[in-house]
């Protein structure tokens, strides 16, 4: 082969393996930072890909989702299997936990059955060695007829050899021999052969997969394979389905077990035979540090206190340490806008840049430090193995709401900020659990809503403000439980995902992989959110800034000029002390005029008109058009509700001005409470909506979430307001 030919060649290598087998660290070592994280098409499973040059070839490394098997139960398993079947990677590297050979071989055996080129990486060979486990790699290679390489993923050992073997195999014309395959028992083989005959006779060239494998899957009643065959002319597949059903019936009568249980048993039997020949020591119990750590961390008495401590520490780190860089970024954004302010002449364009782009994007980018810290903490939880322990601890409680133990952390994060909380649902393996958690997390009252509560409760409830705000938080939790139970029994029935979870040994996390973890997710936040938020901010800005020409009720500019002149006229005749008093009075008058001007302008802007237009919707829940406009602008970020109300009530910059304005307005305590309820529940902010869109992978769930939360908000506020009025509160 010439050099030119070699460089043209691109080989695709897929990495498969159990979760916790060290797949990620091998992937990180091969690709370094040259990796692309995205989603598998149509699903929310993370897809990682990297390109490297090795031995003169361009290698495309695809990291398949970590799974225990290829039985299409979970979305991860379907993704992994379909990739191997449909994309035909040149080589599949199966990463095997050498200290856990038997279970790892189950997945490996299923992958071999797919008739692809397979290389085994016996990973964590060092751990296995210290535990006294010795594996005869040559024998294993001979028995399974495939190359076997020892690797230590977290120390970057054996990775080059692994890639060399993979390239070698990809470029050979090696096909796995039939006799090296799993042999099932006589009855099963008979059933497989019978189905295979019909499959070959009827579908023949139309067959999308190897005949024997298709027959096995039909005997196992594999839904995905059946669906795929149904795409072919139905007459042909019907015969095969009938034969498969007949054979299944025979097997069930004979063994009193479903055939798919039999095949699983048989595969493990096949594996047991291999283990006997290659494994030098009996597997011992884990009498190591990990078990001792667990004696403390999942202890009956101290397990929960320690868990709470860790969560508290994560919260502190995220929202307290995060404050310092936040202040720094705010200063930067502030500096940028005052810079722009002084450079650009007053114009519409300047207004757009300042109040649309910088203010909008700036309000989101300030979350970045919190997000970085949060994801770093979560990466530590995941990489050490503590995440599955937290699920172990919390599962009982979460199960009552119809959720998985792992849903706890995202929901808890929701009290801080919904955006990272929704991104944290990635730790959930089942897609249904993930979507359900995403749908209920917005009801956990986020910290941005707190300023709204403080203003409203502080104004109308005085000393009882704390209790009122607490009741709002509790209301959110109750509604999340109700929602969870409701959806679990209707939209997202979850009978198919049993809670069978591995508690992997504790590991010291690698800094490199922690950083990659953290950066990957943060980068997604910046990139994808950025686009939507930029667009949304500009739309809201435009609604607020247009139409440009407003018919003011009086000539404010002239009034302001007049006020200034009036005070200036006194200036020459008054003493120094008096002058200061006059200046203060002048400024007060000017500011009040300016505030009224701004209020009138927003009242007549499109968003003000929109607010008045939707008044009939807000009236039954006690919110006037000002509240309505404030809530609409709150879509960008919840804090904005307060500043919009400030503008609409034409308050000046003095402290407590808004509270005083609200107190003297027509708003009643009941209406204020109703509004707080609405703020708690109604549509999540723009960043959250963007995150929901991203994490559920569909506009459908995003729209559903918007409609559902807003409907719930309206209905609950309606009950609160009208119910309160019936009871005689005003």
């Amino acid at each position: 082969m010439t050099v030119a030919e070699q460089t043209e060649k691109q080989l695709t290598i897929a990495l498969a393996g159990n979760p916790n087998a060290g797949k990620t660290s091998i992937f990180n070592h091969i690709t370094g930072t040259r990796q692309k994280v995205g989603n598998w098409p149509g699903v929310t499973v993370e897809k990682k890909e990297g390109h490297v040059r090795k031995e003169g070839r361009d290698l495309r490394i695809v990291d398949l989702p970590g799974t225990y098997s290829l039985t299409p139960f979970s979305i991860e398993e379907i993704v992994a299997r379909n990739y191997i079947l449909d994309e035909n990677p040149d080589v599949v590297v199966v990463i095997i936990d050498a200290s856990n050979l038997e279970r790892s071989l189950y997945l490996a055996t299923q992958i071999r059955e797919l008739d692809c080129r397979v290389v085994f990486a016996l990973n964590m060979a060092d751990v296995a060695r210290t535990r006294g486990i010795k594996i005869d790699a040559d024998k294993l290679a001979e028995l399974l007829d495939l190359p076997v390489v020892f690797t230590v993923g977290n120390k970057n050992e054996g990775i080059d050899a692994l890639l060399r073997k993979a390239i070698e195999l990809a470029e050979s014309d090696h096909t796995p021999h039939q006799q090296r395959k799993v042999k099932y028992n006589k009855d099963l083989e008979k059933a497989i052969a019978a189905v295979q005959k019909v499959v070959v006779a009827d579908l023949g060239d139309e067959l999308p997969y190897a005949a024997r494998w298709t027959a096995i899957k039909l005997v196992e009643d594999d839904k995905i394979v059946k669906e795929r065959l149904l795409e072919k002319p139905t007459e042909l597949s019907r015969q095969a389905f009938e034969e498969a059903a007949r054979q299944r019936q025979l097997l069930m009568e004979r063994f009193d077990e479903e055939p798919e249980i039999l095949t699983t048993d048989e595969r493990y039997g096949f594996i047991a035979g291999i283990i006997k020949e290659v494994h030098m020591t009996a597997i011992q119990q884990r009498v190591d540090i990990s078990r001792n750590i667990d004696l403390v961390l999942t202890n009956r008495f101290v397990g929960f206190p320690i868990f709470i401590l860790f969560i508290w520490a994560m919260f502190q780190a995220t929202f307290t340490f995060g404050e310092y860089p936040v202040a720094f970024i705010e200063t930067l954004v502030g500096g940028l806008s005052s810079g722009v302010n002084s450079i650009l002449p007053d114009s519409l364009f300047k207004d757009l840049i300042l109040n649309g782009v910088i203010a909008g994007v700036g309000s989101v980018i300030v979350f970045l430090p919190n997000i970085l810290i949060l994801f770093f903490c979560i990466a530590i939880f995941e990489d050490t193995g503590y995440m599955s322990r937290s699920a172990f601890l919390m599962d009982k409680i979460m199960h009552l709401i119809g959720l998985h133990g792992k849903s706890f952390i995202p929901m808890l994060m929701g009290f801080g900020c919904t955006v990272p909380a929704i991104m944290a649902t990635r730790t959930l393996e089942s897609e249904k659990d993930r979507i359900l958690t995403i749908l209920i997390t917005p009801f956990m009252s986020c910290s941005a809503k707190l300023p709204v509560y403080i203003v409203l409760a502080g104004t109308f409830f005085g000393a009882r403000a704390g209790t009122v705000i607490f009741s709002i938080y509790i209301l959110g939790i109750i509604l999340s439980i109700v929602t969870g139970r409701l959806f679990r029994s209707t939209l997202l029935k979850g009978v198919d995902a049993p809670f069978v979870m591995e508690l992997p040994p504790y590991r010291v996390p690698m800094v490199k992989s922690l950083l990659i973890h953290m950066w990957d997710r943060s980068r997604i936040f910046l990139k994808k959110m950025g686009k939507i938020i930029l667009l949304g901010s500009i739309v809201i800005w435009a609604l607020t800034a247009f139409p440009r020409h407003v018919n003011f009720s009086m000539d404010y500019d002239a009034e302001i000029q007049g006020a200034i002149q009036k005070y200036d006229a006194y200036r020459p005749v008054s003493g120094k002390e008096m002058q200061q008093g006059l200046e203060a009075r002048r400024d007060q008058e000017v500011n009040s005029l300016k505030a009224h001007k701004a209020a009138e302008r927003i009242e007549q802007s499109y968003i003000g008109r929109l607010g008045k237009w939707v008044t009939p919707v807000f009236e039954p829940i006690g919110i006037d058009w000002r509240g309505g406009v404030a809530l609409l602008t709150g879509f960008v970020a919840k804090e904005i509700v307060v500043s919009t109300m400030g503008v609409l009530y034409a308050v000046d910059d003095e402290p407590d001005a808004l509270e005083r304005a609200l107190a003297s307005s027509t708003l009643t305590p009941l209406a204020a409470f109703s509004m707080m309820v609405f703020v708690l529940l109604y549509l999540p902010c723009l960043s959250t909506v963007a995150a929901i869109r991203r994490e559920t992978g569909s506009y459908k769930w995003m729209t559903f979430s918007i409609v559902y939360t807003t409907s719930v908000a309206w209905v609950v506020s309606f009950i609160v307001y009208q119910g309160g009025r019936l009871l005689g509160y005003a």
């Binding site: 200290s99 798919e260 699983t264 078990r291 049993p498 069978v500």
Partner: protein, 75 residues
Amino acid sequence: MLMSEMREGDSATVVKIGGNGALRRRIQEMGVLKGTRIQVEKYAPLKDPLELIVKGCHISLRVEEAAQIKVEVSG
């Protein structure tokens, strides 16, 4: 007896795995088969789920799922 009736530290051999097909198959795929030796390492602080040791791996199951598994306690 049922696996859910085992106490912490007990060892047993799996006799029969019941429950729906998905659960049964998932349990099997994690290495819990008829004839497999298992040990109950501990129950979670709220008594559910429980932690098993199977072939050197630690696996957690809900009690309701463990109630589908028949075991024979030995030694």
